[in-house]
Amino acid sequence: MKRDLEIDIHHLTRVEGHADITIRVKDGKLIEARWSVVETPRFFEVMVKGMSAERVPFLTSRICGICSISHALASIRALERAMEIEPPAAAITTRLLAMHGETLQSHALHLFFLAAPDFAGTGSVLPLMQSHPGLVRAGLQLKELGNKISEVTTGRCTHPVSLVLGGLSKAPERGHLERLLAMIRERKAALDIAADFFSTLHIPDFARETEFISLSNGSSYPSIGGKLVSSDGVRREENDYLQMTNEYALEGSTSKFTRLSRASSAAGALARFNNNFALLHPLAQNVAERFGLKPVCHNPFMNTLAQLVECVHILQDAEELVQALLEMRSADIRTPFKPKAGAATGAVEAPRGILYHHMETDDNGKVVKADCIIPTTQNNANIHLDLQAIAGRAVAEGKTDSEIQMLCEMVVRSYDPCISCSVH
């Protein structure tokens, strides 16, 4: 069938930030499939220059409204390594728990608010409140738990208050931790409801081989710091992040791009899952099996399900971390430090993938140079190539215009792009 098709999606909905999709088909052939990030840049790397190191996490957390804890902790890790500050054990555990809170909140937002409507054929989550009340309630319960974990560990659910250089400005309160423990246990039931729903969905059968990049530490599912690894066998130290990212810019996109061994690579839940499957909690591995999700999986649509698998892991691990905090007797939450000159990278697994902050300080602890490489920037080229592949295949299979548009939107959403973040 010879046909022409023009799809112009201006400011794609149900994603964080502003980006457009352009599809052109002429005489039955795909001419163009483009994903353009048009977000307004804010220039955080410039803003941070001259700022005192201790204030920096309060600024960089504002890069993103969804993953502010990851940004704060990436900056903190970079600056602590640059100035050789060792945070105390209670702070390390609290930070890991905070990362779980943020990822749970972010994944729940994507799973139930942004992705689920595509599968249910609705424009938003709002009609699902009537048609799938149990599912929406489960989603809200998980999201609320994520926010509650962030609040107890960092003082607030968006833009953390108590994550500071050297440790924490304030320890989580005992009573809050006890209530949180009960809440985590009670909300595990919501995971079952979610898994029941997502296991029945028809996930588009599509795969395009790519390289998955994540952190890896060999002993626990990755969160803060570790080796930089790829599914193509690359292994680097945290400070060598530039060799992992090879960042470049192209006209027409305010988000930059990265690459490693191939034309593109992927970061995020699926990358973490593919590179660290053995370190997931057994219950999370069981849910993955139920979804037919096995490493190494190259279907980008499965990223959404990998997020749910991670939620199962998070609730199990968060329970242990809260118990560990309750058992800690030391009141030490912050290591005093003297500002000094240094340079280091802090890498963390933000909800959408590996996030790098590199910081250099002068003798007074003022930042002289900063570099932030965002997960969505690392997925930018992969999204672009997936979009071309899926649009090309859909056209060849003779899918209708609306089916093609739907698949294109869905493949982009499956990356859960954080576009404001990528154009920091």
Binding site: H11, T13, R14, V15, E16, G17, T40, P41, R42, F43, E45, V46, M47, M51, S52, R55, F58, L59, R62, I63, C64, G65, I66, S68, L109, F113, L114, P117, G123, S124, V125, L126, M129, L140, Q141, K143, E144, N147, T154, G155, R156, C157, T158, H159, V161, S162, V164, S169, K170, A249, E251, T254, S420, C421
Partner: protein
């Protein structure tokens, strides 16, 4: 919508974002236990971040973010033409926010540094009210959802909307916190508008003034307090400039 025997019209609501992190809009989907009731107040006509339904027949527009590109000005002006009530939503919209830190650099300098050799447009950062008339401001980085809920109820019922006039210090004292000045740190709590329930100072970090100046603040006395205690003037400058919310008082700085 019916409540306590009265019938109310839902707000024909839209939410838009400009140069920002979208964290304030995200608060609209937080406080999950109250979310069904909150959403019950709104007829969401346009909210790109969570819905693919887009309609242009809204009455109330929440606008998050500051303005730093020409296309944003045109978009904002179109929203102003449609909205009966335009709300500057969050610190970036109200004051320019952290984005304003870029304005220390000459035009084009930041873009040249981050995107060498590429044409990337970036105007000096401006707050929403520099471009269009703003009917209501809800400050905060991020906004406080409880306050947003109260304001939404006031909008639905047509009752008076008022932000606290007093400073964060009042809320901080009510939470029985040790004063950060007594711990040797500069805190903007004495001059910043309350309404956040002193969330930062309760977490033992200094208030950076995201909600902007409280009403009738005594800036000279505050600056004198910092001087008297021998605290760092460069720290004071960094804090006052963080959100660009004390721009009007910049001339008084020592």
């Amino acid at each position: 919508m019916k409540a306590r025997g009265f019938t109310f019209e839902k707000l024909k609501f839209a939410s838009f974002d400009f140069t920002c992190c979208e964290g304030c809009q995200l608060q609209l989907a937080n406080r999950e236990s109250a979310l069904p009731d909150f959403l019950g107040l709104l007829d969401i006509r346009n909210f790109r971040e969570i819905s693919s339904e887009r309609h242009d027949d809204y009455d109330i527009a929440f606008v998050e973010g500051s303005i730093s590109r020409q296309d944003e000005i045109a978009r904002l002006e179109a929203i102003r033409r449609q909205a009966k009530i335009l709300v500057a939503f969050g610190t970036c919209a109200c004051f320019g926010g952290v984005n304003s830190l870029k304005n220390r650099l000459a035009d084009g300098e930041a873009a040249a540094e981050v995107y060498p050799g590429m044409q990337v447009e970036s105007l000096p950062v401006r707050k929403i009210s520099d471009i269009v008339k703003v009917d209501l401001s809800i400050p905060g980085c991020p906004v406080t959802k409880e306050e947003v809920e109260r304001i939404a109820v006031s909008l639905v019922t047509g009752s008076l909307i008022a932000l606290p006039k007093y400073p964060v210090c009042m809320e901080c004292k009510a939470r029985l916190n040790t004063c950060l000045f007594d711990l040797g740190e500069i805190c903007l709590g004495p001059i910043t508008r309350a309404g956040c329930d002193a969330v930062c100072t309760t977490g033992k970090t200094a208030c950076l003034g995201c909600r902007g100046p409280a009403e009738d603040i005594n800036m000279p006395a505050f600056l004198e307090l910092v001087k008297e205690r021998g605290l760092s003037q460069s720290d004071l400058k960094e804090k006052l400039g963080f959100y660009n919310a004390f721009e009007a008082f910049a001339a008084n700085e020592t």
